[in-house]
């Protein structure tokens, strides 16, 4: 009896240690949960955006209130949205990390169709739609082209690794990158390969097609300008210190390339010469946007920075206070910014920087009035 009673404290200690270990490991396990980095699309007076809470919403551009929302239907643990949506013929298309490509009625959010892509492999890039087709890359390494109207598969193209890049369509050609290190150009009509351009790293960015060239960065820390017709190299920029993840933006014969080394590089579009860098204190994953003759860029350090397009001077910043990983969307003097605190914010660009118009917190399911939790 005495043995049993004296053994109890030891058991209690052991159980306490075991429970502590269980709690620690359980906390660690949450790290593998996809968060999403929602990119917005603005059409008319509505913002269309996937949220970090497993749904897709239409938000009123004026006041940030929800117009409609559509919950993802795939595997609950994988309900996240990463890529930007596409608008085509009255439908909004977006890919879910749950492996489903959704087509929703733009007006009311009703599901036009939803297709599990491949073997239900996750979708990270956004879709592109044109010429009766909706295209999306999948983590199973295929680019799929569906009939935009009813979701029937029209063709697919296999690459060597996951496709996390949003395709870009121009002049009947679809351009996209793959984590197999290549940039591809395919015929939109039938998916026939026109050319492929090899790099030495994975590619997640959406190609920027501008003035007959394809601009794209790679995990090899090189930013490339490729001839859109032939797939030959026009120039390359080698001075970055980390991967290129997000898509570039263009304006005034300048290319603005965001890098995970914390810089957005302003490059001469003809020569690739570095004009100026915009530096931040965290990796820049999302693409920058051009608004009112200024460049706006969001960084993982939680700030949105605005600079003059011409010389990168007059830096103004707005502290969102939470990691920004999604691309910034510009629309008529407004910036739509998504942050890791589940917020989608509309910022009005002013001479002194930016002024917050509204903030929509998807986890609170309501807009926060201006001034209540103002970031800038």
């Amino acid at each position: 009896m005495s043995i049993l009673s004296s053994a109890k404290p030891r058991r209690a200690e052991s159980l306490a240690v075991a429970l502590l270990a269980a709690l620690l490991l359980a906390a660690c396990a949450r790290i593998g949960v996809p968060e999403g980095s929602p990119a917005a699309l603005v059409d008319g007076d509505t913002v269309y955006v996937g949220t970090m809470d497993g749904d897709f919403r239409a938000i009123d551009l004026d006041n940030g209130e929800t117009v409609w929302k559509h919950t993802l239907t795939g595997d609950e643990a994988r309900r996240a949205v990463y890529g930007p949506p596409a608008l085509y013929d009255g439908n909004i298309y977006f890919g879910g990390y749950d492996g489903v490509l959704y087509a929703l009625d733009q007006e009311n959010g009703d599901e036009t169709w939803a297709r599990e892509v491949g073997d239900v492999s996750s979708i990270v890039g956004g879709p592109a739609a044109d010429d009766g087709l909706a295209l999306v890359g999948s983590s199973d390494g295929n680019l799929y082209a569906f009939d935009a109207e009813d979701g029937r598969l029209k063709w697919s193209f296999q690459t060597g690794k996951r496709i996390w890049s949003t395709p870009a369509i121009a002049d009947g050609v679809v351009y996209f990158g793959s984590l197999d290190h290549n940039v591809y150009a395919l015929s939109l009509q039938d998916g026939e390969e026109i050319w492929r351009f090899p790099t030495r790293g994975g590619i997640t960015a959406k190609p920027l097609v501008e003035d007959g060239r394809v601009y794209i960065g790679s995990f090899d820390s090189v930013f490339y300008a490729i001839d859109a017709q032939t797939g030959s190299l026009a120039w390359r920029f080698d001075d970055a210190n980390s991967w290129f993840w997000g898509s570039a933006a263009a304006a005034n014969k300048r290319i603005f390339a965001p890098s995970l080394d914390g810089n957005v590089y302003a490059l001469d579009s003809r020569s690739g010469d570095l004009l100026w860098p915009l530096s931040s204190n965290g990796p820049v994953l999302g693409s920058p946007a051009v608004v009112s003759e200024r460049l706006a860029s969001g960084s993982s350090d939680g700030r949105v920075r605005l600079v003059d397009l011409a010389d990168g001077a007059d830096v103004r910043s707005c502290d969102i206070g939470s990691r920004i990983r999604a691309p910034i969307t510009a629309h008529e003097g407004l910036l739509i910014v998504s942050a890791a605190d589940h917020s989608i914010r509309a910022l009005t660009v002013t001479a002194s920087g930016a002024d917050e118009k509204w903030a929509h917190f998807s986890n609170r399911d309501r807009a926060v009035a201006t001034g209540e939790e103002k970031a800038c």
Binding site: R10, E35, Y82, K161, D220, S221
Partner: protein, 317 residues
């Protein structure tokens, strides 16, 4: 705190992640092989520490009977007890926290491995982007290798173990649990008291069971690391302290759930009555092995064989 985090990343995490990716590049772009080789290298590098820890624990165990006697004698004089205890340690060349030193040194390495593996096998896009912070920009080979191909046997090492259909999803948890059980069986020191025996018995089942369940919530790559680490640990332990626990394993499993038949090391509290027959049965075998065991420094003895049979000293006289 930020400085500590930077030191931790620079000294432990980044070298480990870059080594793993480098091994992946060298060994056929197979991350399963990279994990196995890396785990073996790390465990092998820590053999001196493991041996030291093992010996330290053994020495501590050996003086437990004397410790208990001291505790009895000086139960009302804590200061004297403390002095005598230190004296006992000195006489036997024991550093009372000597067994903790190697453990403390190993902990950052194991924790680092845990984080490095999770960081190298990003299961979500944000974690893949985070990986860029850890790769050396001056080592193009590692940046070009990303993202790693996680396919190994039937596994995608970046996928959660629970994501496989039944019964495949149970394979890794079972392998983790079984390998950890055997590992614990190999490393558990002989109990000095019935309480300790009871605790050991509980932990023997609790830890493997818990880690088996955890495996379902983690990437398959981490499960592979746990399995390889346990297997390497078993082999190292086998060479250091002998294979007898492994040989006795089937018998131990059959006996589990019954009251303990393994009394504490000599000089401990009297075991229960049920223990006597087993102890008697062990005696002859112990007698036969005794000379050999002394030459081997008791290293290869099974747990029960380390005891001296009651009355044996009298018989020799």
């Amino acid at each position: 705190m930020e400085i500590l985090s930077e030191i931790w990343n620079s000294v432990i995490i980044r070298p480990m992640i870059n080594s793993l990716v480098l091994l992946y590049s060298i060994f056929f772009s197979n991350f399963g092989i990279a994990i196995i080789i890396f785990t073996v290298i790390v465990r092998a590098a820590m053999i001196p520490l493991s041996i030291r820890q093992s010996r330290s624990m053994k020495a501590m165990t050996a003086v437990q009977p004397k410790m208990k006697a001291l505790q009895e004698r000086y139960k009302n004089d804590r200061q004297k007890l403390s002095q005598e205890t230190m004296k006992l340690y000195r006489e036997n060349g024991i550093n009372p926290i000597g067994c903790l030193g190697p453990l403390v040194l190993q902990m950052p390495i194991f924790l680092g491995l845990f984080w490095a593996l999770r960081g190298t096998l990003p299961s979500t896009p944000e974690r893949l982007a985070d990986l860029s912070r850890h790769l050396y920009p001056w080592l193009p080979m590692v940046n070009e290798a990303v993202p790693l191909n996680g396919q190994f046997l039937w596994l995608d090492l970046a996928e959660f173990s629970s994501s496989y259909p039944m019964p495949l999803s149970l394979v890794l948890p079972i392998l983790v649990g079984v390998s950890m059980f055997v590992m614990q069986k190999m490393t558990t020191m002989p109990s000095t008291t019935p309480q300790q025996e009871s605790t050991n018995r509980m932990m023997l089942w609790l830890m493997p069971g818990m880690f088996g369940v955890f495996t379902l919530s983690f990437e398959a790559g981490l499960a592979l690391y746990w399995i390889v680490s346990n297997v390497v640990g078993i082999v190292i332990q086998g060479f250091v302290t002998g294979w007898q626990p492994l040989i006795d394993l089937p018998k131990s499993i059959i006996n589990l759930g019954r009251p303990s038949t393994t009394p504490a090391v000599e000089g401990q509290a009297e075991p229960s009555d049920e223990a006597e027959p087993a102890r008697e049965a062990d005696t002859d075998e112990n007698d036969r092995d005794d000379g050999q065991d002394r030459r081997r420094g008791n290293r290869n003895r099974p747990k029960g064989a380390r005891r001296r049979a009651p009355g044996r000293r009298n018989r020799r006289r």
